[in-house]
């Protein structure tokens, strides 16, 4: 059995799905980001001026890494959650389960879809931002690494959501009520230094804060939180999520009677 061929096929099928429904997967982040840049960057951001703690950095420049991360996180998550639940709903998961493909290959095939969409949408956001601001990347390798790790982590979390989901509502509950508030309160639009002390402490229990700041460090060369915490946090969550998802798929939770 050629497991790599099977993995390649499932990965390609997932990427093909993203491209087939590009109007749902690629276009919306471009429009949303353009609106963010226009309203919060060009209009309101002009009145804010330089960001405190980031010497010589305008508000719109501060916002770019946050908006890229926002898109990578939400799209990686949504892609795998909906693709996996969609195959369960259409019963096409049976095509995969009856085949000799091992559990790790099934997982990785779906993850490749999430990573691909994370990168694609991240690129779209970068291109959109170029219409509003000049971007300079401080550490290109670290920037790519942080996008890769983040998209892997949120693809895995999306997969866990897809495994447990029994209806379309279940696929949207976590992104709407958990992920979106955490992302918006995770320092995308503001520096936590401007918050009162007690709110700064509360913000520090939000894992997204560390992920966004790690990426901001990679892109801009400075951040308000040690980037090492971010990379350790992402790695730890990724390992735990991978092992959990692997165990669930191997056991057939949510996919076998």
């Amino acid at each position: 059995m050629n497991n790599l061929q099977a993995l390649k096929t499932l990965s390609y099928a997932n990427v093909r799905r993203i491209l087939r429904i590009w109007i749902q997967t690629i276009v919306p982040p471009a429009i949303t980001t353009a609106l963010y840049f226009l309203i919060f960057g060009a209009l309101i951001g002009r009145r804010i001026g330089e960001m405190p703690g980031y010497e010589g950095l305008s508000y719109i420049e501060f916002m770019v890494p946050g908006l890229i991360m926002l898109s990578v996180i939400t799209n990686s998550y949504a892609n795998v959650a909906s693709a996996f639940f969609g195959t369960k709903f259409q019963k096409s998961i049976e095509e995969i389960l009856v085949s000799p493909m091992p559990s790790w290959a099934i997982m990785c095939g779906f993850l490749v879809g999430g990573i691909a969409r994370g990168f694609l949408v991240g690129l779209v956001v970068v291109v959109t931002s170029l219409f509003f601001v000049q971007i300079t990347i401080d550490n290109f390798t670290l920037t790519l690494l942080s996008i890769l790790l983040t998209s892997i982590l949120f693809s895995l979390l999306g997969l866990l959501n897809g495994i447990y989901a029994k209806s379309f509502d279940d696929v949207s509950i976590v992104p709407t009520f958990v992920l979106t508030p955490l992302i918006y309160l995770g320092g995308i639009f503001y520096s936590i230094n401007i918050l009162p002390e007690e709110w700064q402490l509360i913000s520090q229990i939000n894992p997204i804060l560390y992920i966004v700041n790690f990426f901001r460090y990679a892109m801009l060369g400075s951040s308000e939180i040690d980037p090492l915490i971010g990379i350790c946090l992402i790695s730890a969550f990724t390992i735990v999520s991978f092992l959990l998802a692997y165990h669930l798929i191997r056991k057939g939770v949510g996919i076998r009677d």
Partner: protein, 304 residues
């Protein structure tokens, strides 16, 4: 050598429904085997366990000699399954569905495309290869299911009601296709509600009911169990109301028609020779019902 060996297979679902109560079943290599049973008898559970869609509670299953508990991946590579329900993305193109399925079995792209062409042409879907699956008719989708199951050229093919809802012409062309691949060496296990289908195609048969195998024999021996057969006789001359045939009970007499019961120990040739029939100028004699159907109803109702 068996293509499928099942020993003491049990399945109880999470809702406490006991779908299989410990069945034993062997299917020889090269066989064309019917697995029959009423709705909810446990047929799909058996198929689900063999193909890994359902987790068994206990028991042993071997596919082509490979224990699924020891090397399920290798066992699955020998197996093709046509499920009852369409289980492919309706938004994908036909050719993509088939080539993707081949890829899941590790078949390289070039070989997958060649095989897809072979089977699409064989089952009359080549012209539809670039259409989205949702645009196809039920019969065409059914054929996609069969091609998907055949694309990695398995040694054992299991078909769960493959001809449900397809027209007679297509059903017969699918029968020809299945007979052809069986002659080429593929072992076939078929579940169907069309008992005529099982009678025409299969050499051996098992009947499952209430989670137990209640009959497991050759088709010929099963059909020999039939006690009575009813023949309808149509005549040119009017049948007298008190018409009788010595040794053959007669019933349902109408103007130019009556039914005659042929007991197990009686011979159809002797019936044809009866002078009483000749006097009525017989136009036509036909079997009233499908023989296997009668027996099936009898066996499964015994179990209720």
């Amino acid at each position: 050598m068996y293509a499928l060996e099942i020993k003491d297979l049990k399945k109880t679902y999470s809702n406490k429904v006991e779908a299989l109560k410990g069945i034993d079943l062997n299917v020889s290599k090269g066989d064309f085997f019917a697995l029959l049973g009423p709705n909810g008898a446990g047929k799909s559970t058996v198929i689900g366990i063999i193909s890994s869609l359902v987790n068994k509670s206990s028991g042993h299953v071997k596919v082509c000699g490979i224990d699924i508990d020891e090397n399920f991946s290798l066992a699955k590579s020998k197996l093709g399954v046509v499920n009852q329900e369409f289980n492919f993305s309706q938004f994908e193109k036909v050719i993509d569905i088939i080539v993707t399925q081949a890829g899941y079995y590790g078949v390289d792209y070039k070989t997958a495309v060649e095989r897809a062409e072979k089977y699409l042409k064989k089952l009359g879907l080549w012209d539809k290869r670039n259409d989205q699956a949702r645009m196809l008719s039920g019969g065409q989708k059914r054929r996609i299911m069969i091609i998907k199951a055949m694309i990695h050229e398995p040694e054992l093919l299991i078909l769960d009601e493959p001809t449900a809802g397809v027209d007679i012409e297509l059903r017969r062309s699918l029968w020809d296709f299945l007979l052809e691949i069986n002659q080429q060496g593929t072992t076939i296990i078929l579940t169907t509600h069309y008992l005529e289908e099982a009678e025409n195609l299969c050499r051996n048969i098992a009947i499952i009911d209430g989670g137990d195998i209640i009959e497991n024999t050759s088709m010929n021996s099963l059909l020999k169990q039939i006690d009575d057969q009813v023949f309808i006789v149509e005549t040119e001359k009017v049948v007298p109301k008190d018409f009788s045939l010595p040794g053959y009970p007669v019933q349902d007499i109408s103007e130019n028609k009556f039914s005659v019961i042929l007991k197990k120990n009686k011979n159809l040739n002797d019936l044809f020779k009866a002078q009483e029939l000749e006097d009525l100028n017989v136009k036509n004699i036909r079997n009233q019902t499908n023989r296997l159907e009668e027996l099936f109803v009898k066996l499964t109702s015994k179990n209720e």
